[in-house]
Every structure is written in C-alpha cells, then in structure tokens.
C-alpha cells in the first residue's frame, strides 16, 4: 500500500466542519471518485466532524490517499479527547442520540463508506476511521 | 537459485567458426536487414546501442550514426527514465535471460508508440554477459483498435444493464432486465436520476417485466431508487408487477403502498400521462 498524499484539519470551531467538508471534497476528487461517491464521503465526513465538535470537545480529522495494486482509496481519521462513547454498539444503531439529533450520523457514515471502525474510551477519547475505495 | 543456473540463462553465443559458415552469417544479416515490422537492436552490457537495424530506423526515427553509442533509455518515456525502468529492464533480462514488456516508447521526434519489447541477454559459453538483443514491435494500431473495441463494448454493456430512455416529453422509462444486484442498482439510480434532471422529466416509469424474481435485497434497492427519485422532485410509476412478483413483495413485507404500481407498461404509461395532465384518448383511458 502506497501513501499518495495526506493532511489534516483541526476541528475546534463549528465552522471547521465546513473546512473538513471542503478538504475532503478536494482530496476525494484526487483519486478519481465519481460525483456520487465524493458526495457520500463528504457527507460522512460532515457527520463525523460534527460529532467531534459536538460530543468530543473538538479534535482533528486526518486524511490519507492510499494506493494498492487494484484500488485507490481515501482514509479519514476523526480523533478527539472527549468523554468517549460508553456503548459503541448502541451509538451505531439507527436513531440513537443523546444530543437530540436524528441519531443518523454514525450509522449513516457506516452505510456511506466501505469501511468504518470506532475506538473509544473515557481515557483517550474517540477515534473513528473510515475508508472508501475505487477499483482501478 | 545458484549462480551457475542464473548464468546459463539467456542466449549463448558460440564462436562463429564452430557453428556457422560465412554464408549463413550473410543470410542472418539479410534477414535482420529485411525484417520491417521488428526493430532489432544490440546493446552492450551497460545498455549502450551497438547495432541498429534499418527497420529500427523506420520505427524509431534515428539513423544508425545518431543512436549507436547512446544509451537505450533514449527510447523510454521521461516517466520511465525517472523511475529507473531502463536499468530495471536490463537487470531483469540479465537475471532471467529474457524480459518482455508492452508499454509506451518514444520516437526520435518525441511521439509515443505502443511497443512490444523483448530483451534477451547475450552470453558467451562461460556465461559472461556480452550484451543484449532487443526486438521491438510497434503495436500502436492494434492498441488503438483494442481501445476502441473496449470503449464500444463498455458503452453497449452500460446500455444493456440500465437503458434509460425518454419516451415522451416529461417521461423517462427504464426497462429492467435480469437480476438487480447492488452494483447494477447503483448504476440504475445514478443514470435514472441524471436523465430525470437532464430532461426535466417529472415522471419515471420503472418497468420490472423483465426481472425474473425479486428478493429482499432487490426490493430494497427498488425502494431506495424510488425514494431518491422523489428527492430530486419526480415520481416513479412501477410497472410490470406480475402476480408472482406482487405475492413476493407482500410476503417480504415490502411497503410500496405509497408508490403507484401497475401490472402492465401500457397501464403505467396511461398513469404517467395522467400525472402530466395529458389527455388520453377515450378508447385507451382507464
């Protein structure tokens, strides 16, 4: 697996969610994803960035463009030092929200991306990694 | 792999007098000079051109005195040179005796051609590397034809998997045929929505007469498609819902209660006209 490019965005203010979307849109375009897939990735990123801002007391988003023999991909890591998610399985269920939201962010991001993993603990906070691939 | 075996790979050149007469040497030279489709080049162990056939001049544009003594990386693209490909090719041929590749190469005037290249290591009886024989074929025409065929078949295939046609001003039709797996339904959604917005059609007829069976996944794809069509501001009329399919849909618990469905395409078309407030002649009205 080759690393083609990478970068990161700090998520401190609410408007940083917009910066995350713009950064991800540009990066996803670079590996030749179609407009629908780009929209999927950007939408998932928007959900996860808002969670970092709203529940994780801020943090960061790191993006990586990857290349293997058969595919190019984009990997996004959302990291915060917040309180963590007590029950990840529950948080991944459609409609579960502790913040009066639609409870659609985490399960939605999972549906929109090819891969997603969530790590969380009260000590280290929450890390969500998502990936989308395009076969070449 | 031991040293002896790797050394023995490649073509072994035997001293002339033990193998071939003057006459056969001449014949070989005549053969090389008259082959038109192949550029035949001899390189020294470092990759410098030492011998150049007339066909090589024709294919690559260099005259013998312009290229002999130069490095064979002159035939590579700048990208290949930058990545060290010429050296890798020589190393591969030296190691395995032979190296073959199909790739872009560059002529003297800078134009590119699609080449089949075979590099053969030339060794003496003791296994010492004398140089390399290089045979290059210009396959640009074949490549172009292949690309064209590939492009055409891709278009035909796409048409066959999800043909979306505008049947009337304001109405697009997708006759679905065969199994609707998730990749196809993805294509269906993208193409259908694109056509709807490009033609400003408020009604989409999705005809499933040609879909043999429906399982839960397929039904979900259909429901998703119908939802997405609504989001862009159009309506779906689902047609070709045969008795067996209707039974399956009910048994699977798929809720299509707020989707207009009809058993035949003709009936669906009438509904579509109605939605557009188009008059339908008395005989064909519901």
């Amino acid at each position: 697996m080759n690393l083609l490019d990478e970068g990161s965005v700090a998520i401190v203010e609410e408007t940083d969610i917009v910066t995350v979307r713009q950064t991800v849109r540009e990066a996803a375009g670079q590996i030749g994803l179609g407009v629908t897939d780009v929209t999927r990735v950007v939408t998932a990123a928007s959900e996860l960035a808002r969670n970092v801002f709203k529940y994780g007391n801020g943090g960061s988003m790191t993006w990586k463009l990857l290349e293997s023999e058969f595919a190019k991909g984009i990997e996004l890591t959302f990291q915060d030092k917040g309180p963590g998610i007590p029950d990840i399985e529950q948080a991944l269920q459609d409609g579960f929200s502790t913040g009066g939201g639609l409870g659609m962010g985490l399960p939605g991001a999972k549906k929109l991306m090819d891969e997603m993993s969530v790590d969380s603990s009260p000590q280290i906070g929450t890390r969500v990694v998502v990936r989308k691939w395009r076969s070449i | 792999m031991n040293k002896a075996s790797s050394k023995s790979k490649g073509v072994v050149i035997e001293p002339q007098e033990t193998r071939s007469s003057e006459a056969s040497g001449d014949l070989l030279r005549l053969l090389v000079e008259n082959i038109k489709e192949y550029a035949i080049t001899i390189l020294d162990p470092e990759g410098m051109v030492t011998s150049w056939s007339p066909s090589a001049e024709k294919i690559k544009g260099y005259k013998a005195d312009e290229i002999v003594g130069k490095h064979f990386s002159a035939f590579h693209t700048p990208e290949d040179v930058a990545s060290g490909k010429p050296e890798r090719e020589l190393a591969a041929a030296a190691k395995d005796g032979r190296y073959e590749d199909e790739t872009w190469r560059v002529r003297k005037d800078g134009t590119r051609f699609w080449a089949n290249v075979i590099l053969t290591a030339l060794r003496d009886k003791k296994g010492n590397l004398l140089g390399y024989g290089k045979v290059t074929r210009d396959l640009t025409e074949r490549k172009r034809a292949e690309e064209q065929i590939r492009q055409q078949s891709r278009e035909i295939l796409e048409m066959a998997t999800v043909p979306v046609v505008q049947v009337w001003e304001g109405i697009v039709l997708v006759p679905l045929i065969g199994v609707l797996d998730s990749e196809r339904s993805q294509q269906l959604m993208e193409k259908l929505l694109e056509r709807i917005t490009a033609t400003s059609s408020p009604v989409a007829l999705v005809d499933i007469t040609g879909v043999p069976t429906i399982d839960t996944k397929t039904a979900q794809h259909l429901v998703e498609t119908i939802k997405a069509v609504r989001f862009v501001g159009a309506d779906v009329v689902l047609t070709g819902v045969r008795p067996a399919i209707a039974q399956t849909l009910v048994h699977l618990g798929i809720d299509l209660s707020n989707v207009t469905t009809r058993s035949s395409l003709a009936a669906g078309l009438r509904v579509a006209f109605g939605m557009l407030h188009l008059c339908v002649s008395a005989e064909s009205a519901d």
Binding site: T39, T43, E47, D94, L102, M104 | T197, A228, V232, A234
Partner: protein, 121 residues
C-alpha cells in the same frame, strides 16, 4: 468566517429561499429563523426551498429543512423542496434521511407550477 448568505425573495405570493452551496451550521439555523419571519411578514402562501446549489446535505441540514417545512405547514403554508441534485439525493437516501410530508420538485419553475395548481391565488 464562512458565513454565507441565504437569499429570500417573494414571487407570486410564494417565498423563495435559495440555500448556498456549503453553508455552516450557523447559516443553516438562520434559515429557519429567517424563513418563518419572512413567511409572517410577507403573508406568503408557501415556501420553496431551492437546494439546486447545495452539494452536501447531512443529517443536521436535513433536520433543519424538515423542521422548517413542518413549521411552515403549521402556519398554514405549503413547503416544496426544489432542485436537489442526483448525487445529493442518492446520498440522502442511503444515509436514511426521510423527507416525508414535504413535497419535492425538479426545479423552482416546477415548484411554482405546483403551488399555483394546488393553491391558486
């Protein structure tokens, strides 16, 4: 600051609101405020939300849109969402968004036609 403007105009007794391409959360919540105020001020009979420029519709944005639609309905007006792009529509369905109770139209023109058909002036 990314703050973008929301354009609100009144045509044929209908309020037309155009959303910017990539609004931040503050701009999105201003949408609700501004729209409801304008509905009252202009005594509009309906709201057309033009989403044709929008390239990302996430759950926060969608929730504000549906809520606003419901509020406008309560105030006696009708809401139509117009011009959602194909890629946005596909993503929205996959995300699981539900825009039930809200009508949609291909574009602003079609939305205006729908309004006049059902609620003639």
């Amino acid at each position: 600051m990314h703050r973008e403007t929301i354009t609100v105009i009144k045509v044929r007794g209908v309020l037309m609101v155009t959303m910017p391409a990539d609004p931040d959360d503050a701009t999105i919540s201003a949408l609700q405020e501004k729209t409801l105020e304008a509905m009252e001020e202009y005594e509009a009979r309906g709201l057309i939300l033009d989403l044709s420029r929008v390239d990302t519709l996430d759950s926060y944005f969608a929730r504000t849109v549906t809520e606003t639609g419901k509020m406008v309905n309560l105030m006696g007006g009708q809401t139509i969402i117009a011009g959602m792009r194909p890629a946005v529509a596909i993503t929205a369905t996959q995300l699981g968004l539900n825009l039930a109770f809200i009508r949609t139209a291909l574009g602003v023109d079609q939305a205006l036609d729908l309004m006049s058909e059902e609620h003639p002036v």
